[in-house]
Amino acid sequence: MGSSIWLQSMLKHLLFNAYNFQNMKRTKLGLRRGYRISLWLFVFVLFSPSSWGQETAQGDHVNVRWLAPTTFASGQTQYIGFYFEVDPEWHVYWRNAGDSGAAPRFDSTVQGAQIGQIQWPFPQRLPVAHLTNLGYEGNVAYLLPVTPDNDADTVSLSVSLEWLVCKIDCIPGFGQMSLSRPVTENVQWQAHDKEIQQHFVSRLPQSATQSPWKVQSLAYAKPSGTHITLTLMADADETSTPRVFPLSGDLISATEPQLQRDAQQLKLTFALMPGAQLVQQTDFVITDGSQAWHLANVPIIKSQGNDNSFDSPETQSIWVLLLAAFAGGIILNLMPCLFPVLSIKLFGLMQAQSSTRVYEGLAYTAGVLVTFAALGGLLLLLRASGSAIGWGFQLQSAPVVLSLILLFWLMALSFSGFFDFGHRLMNLAGSHRSGAFVTGMLAVFVATPCTGPFMGVALGAAAVLPAMSALMLFLALGAGLAAPFLLLCLWPWLLTRLPRPGAWMETLRQFLAFPLYATVIWLLWVLGKLVGDAGWVIGCLLMLSIVFAIWIASKTKRLGKWTAIAIALFVLIYSFVSIQVENNSATTVAKTDRWHAFDPVKIEEALQQEKAVFVDYTAAWCITCQVNKKLVLENESVLKLFDRNDVLLIRADWTHHDPAITESLSQFGRNSVPVYAWYAKGTNNAELLPQILTVPMIENLFEESH
């Protein structure tokens, strides 16, 4: 006995200090080889079947002992257990260990009986830093079925074990355990051991036929191949939410799947391992928390068309989505970003001849469609190359926001009549065909911040649909955007319905400068959020200098004009360079005490504690988000309501490019903001609220849950 412990510690010492040992001798190759041979010798001696009768194994933070009957009965199968007693907060692993770690290994030799495969009680998800592991916190028994031979007097087992125990750091353990028990008429257990053994036997996965959840389908989510969706049908009386664990760590990530529930149908969307070899079938273990079932050899359907895991595309055909995109495009025309530009353009047109008007309309439409196709194409290209980005990504870049500030500033100034130059730039479209094309392009960019109703679903679907369908959605959005303008151009009688041109137009134009000034203020604020205080200082300096340059140009002759151009160029280059530098030292949006920064682990923890969670997916550059925030989410009574019901408030700020938030949005089938996800108390699946919130809507959430 004593010698075995000595040998074990010797082995451990050798394994752990092998490295230092080797360094000392690293120039003496012969010695190194000798050391290796001696190591092998130890392993051989220690792991040989005829070794000592030790019934336990020890390691740092772990003790292992048998759960075995005192006597076996011939022909009667018993599950014997390797009972791992683990220190608090330390854990050992399931057969699929997840993102890191390793399952224990058992190498058994048996006499007088037949043994089966090691059986694994269902595990739990263990978040470790940025990873998810599958294993057991606290004690666990790995079980081995043993059937004594008919003619055997005793059953003798000798097992060499290897395990890994982790908290954050990991410690491997090695051991050797033996068992020898007589075979008699009856099986006899020590009551306490039997109790523990039974607890873990009851947690072994059983045949899927007895499962209250039946597999309907398993399909790769189209098109990027980053997710796989398991669809289950629950028995009529089954209302609880199961936990599902993938058996293949090579194929499926251990991270908690996204759950969607529709009456008795459950859809679980798992992340696939990046670059995983796609296979034909795979296995899961499903549990209700006390029992478990093994869903074996579930065939994987290669999904086709719009058979998809997410809420929209499956129930809504592509035509519905196209229609929504088109409607969303039309509504964009009324958004404050776009309305002033378009109305001025329109009034410019009223003076034009009808033939020019048709050209204008078509050129404008072409401009819109080409830009949407280009942006959509770029988005799809980035998506294909693995970037986690979404719609509105243009506004996550400081130089783009600065350009927009400059653009809106110049437009506003020219609307106010401050200078002619910009006025002509805007009117360019009114009298020049390529100008109308440019206006179309401009309209798309100007419209991006105003993601309106209907657009969310369509843009979200575009993120997950195959490239062709996605591109069609972008074009439908563009068509919707261009439609009202085009219609007015094609049917002049519509134009005649509008008031006659006159002096009032000048007044209106001046009036419309004000929404543009407001947009400039808002964009400066966005820039501030993106790059910190320096952002709006740089933006304001740019605006001031541009006005100054224009003033010089208007007051002076040739030399002065060159000076003005020089000033403008210098300021442009300077501000864009400095904004790039500032871009790297970005600050995140400050969170208030109530609202927490986005953290999937925190959400998961709250859900496990059966707390309600409200996630506000937002961005500084998203107007709809800001309106909802001001009117509803920061509303005193709403906040009180959240407080009273102990809701975890999460603000997922997408102002900056953030792959984690993009990923999270994609699990809802969305890739634009706003998205409001509501996890009612005690549920695991999110309900998505409409994109325009109202206070009663939030109040209803709590009435329903009471």
């Binding site: 490295y19 080797q22 890191s100 009298s431």
Partner: protein, 206 residues
């Protein structure tokens, strides 16, 4: 007319500015371009992906105190692999992404000593990714997590060093080494049989 033309060029250049693309690739995936990196090694030299254009490159994640790293360094397996391939014109970078205060973090002078003590045969002493940016860009989950990048800058392998996630060095001889298999196949112009695997080991200490 030319005046107007100038104006539309002006407007066009606005649009060009607006469509600034910006890329951020989530992780290193087989068949995809490798994420860019710029890190300083223990001797103060800077390394970027672009320095390794037209060369085969192996990137390995390291943490001195991880039992799985010890498995491959204690047995001499990793150093032998480094030696074999660096002698064959393959470049090899061993990266430490542990942040200050966490297991496996080194100051540059310590890292130099450890590189020597570990008999490191990589192309340079440890790359010190002190903010974890390179590790996160590559999606490095464990030590050792291995990546192979071809001369065109594409990832050809990402995953474990071999197929046996035991911490016991004795299993190395009977394990299938994915890295050498992938390198041999890829360098011979063949398709890599196993291009990705579950990286086993300790979590990277970001």
């Amino acid at each position: 007319m030319t005046y107007k033309y100038k104006k539309s060029i002006f407007a066009m250049s606005f649009i060009a500015l607006l469509s600034f693309p910006f890329l951020a690739i989530a992780v290193a995936l087989p068949g995809k371009p490798a994420p860019d990196f710029t890190e300083t090694d223990a001797s103060g030299m800077q390394h970027s992906l672009s320095d390794y254009q037209d060369q085969w490159l192996v990137i390995e994640w390291f943490n001195k105190d991880c039992p799985y790293v010890r498995k491959h360094y204690g047995s001499g397996n990793m150093q032998a692999l480094q030696k074999k391939y660096t002698e064959n014109e393959v470049k090899w970078l061993t990266v430490i992404s542990s942040v200050e205060g966490k297991q496996g973090y080194f100051e540059p002078n310590e890292a130099l000593i450890e590189a020597k003590a570990h008999n490191l045969n990589a192309s340079s002493p440890f790359l010190l990714d002190i903010d974890g940016s390179m590790g996160k860009a590559y999606g490095a989950k464990t030590t050792p997590h291995m990546f192979i990048i071809n001369p065109q800058g594409q990832v050809v392998y990402a995953g474990a060093i071999d197929d046996n996630d035991s911490a016991n060095p004795a299993v190395i001889e009977s394990s299938m080494n994915y890295v050498s298999a992938a390198l041999d196949e890829a360098m011979a112009g063949k398709e890599v049989t196993v291009a990705s695997s579950r990286a086993y080991g300790c979590s990277v200490k970001y």
